[in-house]
Subunit: 505 residues, 2 copies
């Protein structure tokens, strides 16, 4: 009997590793498409990716995998280690998710996704929401239907959030977001009306791209990114991809007129990259080693981007390097003016350009809209008006067009409802992790100022990256920080930081 | 009945297209590995490629594919178009080749191939043939066994040649190679002893890589390579890869001290690339559109490299461009000295560095050795001595080491016996095609001198690239040139060209 179970488990491992290898291939295709593929190859590439997706789906829904999992799930859990139990649990979750969705619905979602993307692109370009609203409505219906198959015990919107942020739903998010709103909206207003405003004009100018690239590469290396197990390239939208923890590929984009945007994209993606490169050394082709959730992944990019690289300690360390790189532009700057300039709070229309303080409100707005769409209290056709009204209420500005408003993000054109909250959950996780780290490693700030990032990297490697999926996000946060996710840390951090920057006290 | 057959054919098409898409994915992985993959990812990549190879093998040996092919092969051929018949014929050939080899043997060959490559690398590095000879012996045994399963009606060495150059075997190759030997060996000796020798010293110097790259890209573009459906990058060994006719990827390598090597690698690989980009517009995911054989592929690269780019017309067109690119080095050069310098005949040890005239003898030497190994008249252990003796006899030089002799090529470490003849078959095809083109398009030389390569490209597109696998290589050569492969054209071309260069008349 025991031998038999061991063999079943090894069968499972073999099947899961094959799926992992093929998924790595798929990621390579995705990177290739965004970074190096000739434009004329897009049709052929779509067919190649569809063929491979078909194979992966076939493997993921293999009835033999199902039988194997059924036997293992029935087995006394004491027969397995925590690693093995995690692989069985994760494999079962994935198998259920793949097999519970009727093929017709799955194909409808894929088809709508390819159809909706160009419609969204052209609606945004033409600034015409009504061109996009029919597909948005259609996707909403499909995703409601999907939710009933995927997580029948959950409210449909919770099911969509569960897809990205397991164990977290409206019951957890709504009170947290209410608190953020109550604290941040008036605080941003105070900042807006404050007589003292930092100056960022010296960050405008001409910054040769080759110098930007060298600087980004240096800082990424300093952070601990291993370029023998990764790459850095250029793409339209920065991302972190790659096929394996030994093949992690980050990208950025360059504007000659602005080096901060590119540099902080490199730092952000390096944060994601360090998570992937830091995965447990064993079992790298099994679910137990995979990154936990979207929110935890985002916590790693924001840990480095916001908590470390937007700190005055980081500015102090790199100030001379940056000034030497761009001497014409930064000759009159100081560590403090640089620190202030990269942290300016300025309500704007575009989420991806938002600062640390206004960003959560962009997310909350989207969350409340998605919630309203799923519970029927909002209608798709009313979204432009709703959007603009909420922008006024939360940030005091009204988008002049839908392109700069409700049509700005690609997420909904791919049916990715329930994804947005992860960004702000990630920011709060990052803040809470950082606070814990500073307590455990009291030299953290000195180390950052000295450019010694290894203690921070090693701490994250040990506490988070190498933990894979052994714990739920809730368990992990409790285990690492000693308490559940607590937005008070985030609020206190933002208030303290911005009170100082804006001389509010 | 007819409806049923049509449906069977459509089933076949669907299966073949899936195999084509997945093979395109495999090619992308291969390119990625050679060009951009971080070094630390090699182990993960090997597993990914093995997983995908497993899937492709599964699809290629799918019993349903076999049933489908059996039904279609039994069908009256009048039911199908020439395109359809070609797809059925090619699919049957591939299916048979995949299924006739016992799994144990196929796995042994794959395993030996991975094991043999590093052994060859280290034997070459250590200059010790005896380290490599056991695996070479082993591969020889496996390839003899393979031959009996793959092409039981053929002599084992013929079976290995058939794998690369269908329809051609020792019966065709030996008399041609004997003729080449009889003509070229004494001719090269005359050239060697000739008092007049061209000067190529001005091709040594410092040639900035960025300028080399720009020049290569310009000439590749002039030749008609479409960069919206292809790329040019750097790799250790130049190659032409990519995943599809709309995604053709050529590579070169740069030496600061020598621009000719890199430039002619670009031209050579562009020749391969034009074949791929020029494949028939329909059926691009089906066997009918695929390139015909190794020899025909090589004829396309050599057509551009040797017949066009090593001509004085090509030198005349690009002379001013090249001189303007590297003014320090070429200030004293003329069109004629450039033409002579890039065509110098100089017996050397290394095949890949050989000139047009000595290259065939490197091939003939390898062909005769492979023949001897397969028919038992030569023993692996005696190869260093045999090699060196033949080098003396054919080229009048003796390699000072096995690294510069019998260990120089990677082919045998991968079990690729029967591959070498394709290089010289390609050179002869190229010459014969070129002669026909000049007859059909009398302005060819004027066009080359004017930098107008479109007539040549279009001629190749129409006569060769777009013909796919509709004809055998023998039929194609007959159809295009009006006669079978005839080495006399090649010999006459070489004699005329080199008689002029060396002022022999």
């Amino acid at each position: 009997m025991k031998m038999n179970i061991k063999k079943k488990y090894l069968d499972l491992v073999e099947k899961l590793e094959e799926i992992s290898h093929l998924s790595g291939v798929m990621s390579t295709l995705g990177w290739d498409q965004e970074v190096v593929m000739p434009s004329g190859a897009s049709e052929a590439r779509a067919k190649q990716m569809a063929a491979l997706a078909g194979v992966i789906h076939e493997r993921m829904t293999d009835p033999q995998l199902g039988d194997c999992l059924a036997t293992l799930k029935e087995t006394d859990s004491f027969a397995f280690s925590a690693f093995e139990l995690c692989n069985i649990r994760e494999a079962k979750r994935n198998y259920d998710l793949e097999t519970k969705i009727p093929k017709k619905l799955a194909m409808e979602m894929v088809a709508l996704s390819s159809r909706a993307h160009p419609i969204w692109v052209s609606a945004r370009k033409g600034n015409k929401f009504s061109d996009f609203s029919p597909v948005l409505n259609h996707f909403l219906e499909l995703k409601k239907e999907w939710a009933q198959y995927a997580f029948p015990d959950l409210n449909p919107y919770d099911a969509n959030i569960e897809n990205f942020e397991r164990g977290t739903g409206m019951a957890e998010i709504t009170p947290i977001f209410e608190k953020l709103k109550a604290e941040l909206i008036p605080f941003i207003e105070i900042i807006q009306n404050n007589p003292y405003q930092p100056d960022a004009s010296f960050l405008q100018g001409q910054f040769p791209i080759a110098k930007q690239e060298a600087l980004g590469r240096q800082i990424s290396t300093d952070m601990g990114f291993q370029f023998d197990q990764g790459r850095m390239d250029v793409s339209v939208h920065p991302f972190c991809g790659g096929s394996h923890p030994t093949d992690v590929r980050i990208t950025t984009r360059y504007k000659e007129s602005n080096f901060i945007e590119s540099l902080y994209a490199v730092i952000h993606e390096t944060g994601h990259g360090l998570y992937e490169q830091g995965r447990m050394v064993e079992s790298r082709d099994l679910p137990v080693s995979e990154s936990l959730t979207m929110g935890i992944h985002e916590s790693q990019s924001l840990f480095w981007e916001r908590m470390i690289a937007q700190s005055n300690f980081f500015c102090a360390h790199y100030f001379e390097t940056i000034r030497a790189t761009f001497p014409d532009n930064l000759q009159g700057a100081t560590v403090d003016t640089l620190y202030q300039a990269i942290n300016i709070c300025q309500p704007g229309f575009i989420r991806v350009e938002a600062d640390e303080l206004t960003y959560p409100l962009h997310i909350i707005l989207r969350y409340e809209i998605e919630k309203g769409l799923f519970d029927g209290s909002m209608a798709v056709d009313d979204l432009p008006e709703i959007w603009n009204g909420m922008m006024m209420k939360y940030l005091g500005i009204k988008p002049p067009s839908d392109a700069l408003g409700v049509l700005q993000d690609s997420h909904w054109s791919g049916g990715a409802f329930g994804y947005f909250p992860s960004y702000t959950l990630g920011a709060m996780y990052a803040c809470q992790f950082y606070k814990t780290m500073v307590n455990e490693l009291p030299n953290t700030e000195k180390n950052i100022e000295a450019g010694n990032f290894f203690p921070a990297k090693n701490w994250l490697n040990e506490k988070i990256h190498s933990q894979g999926r052994l714990y739920t996000p809730q368990e992990l946060v409790q285990k690492v920080t000693g308490e559940p996710l607590n937005p008070d840390h985030f609020i206190a951090y933002l208030k303290k930081k911005y009170t100082a920057i804006y001389h509010l006290d």
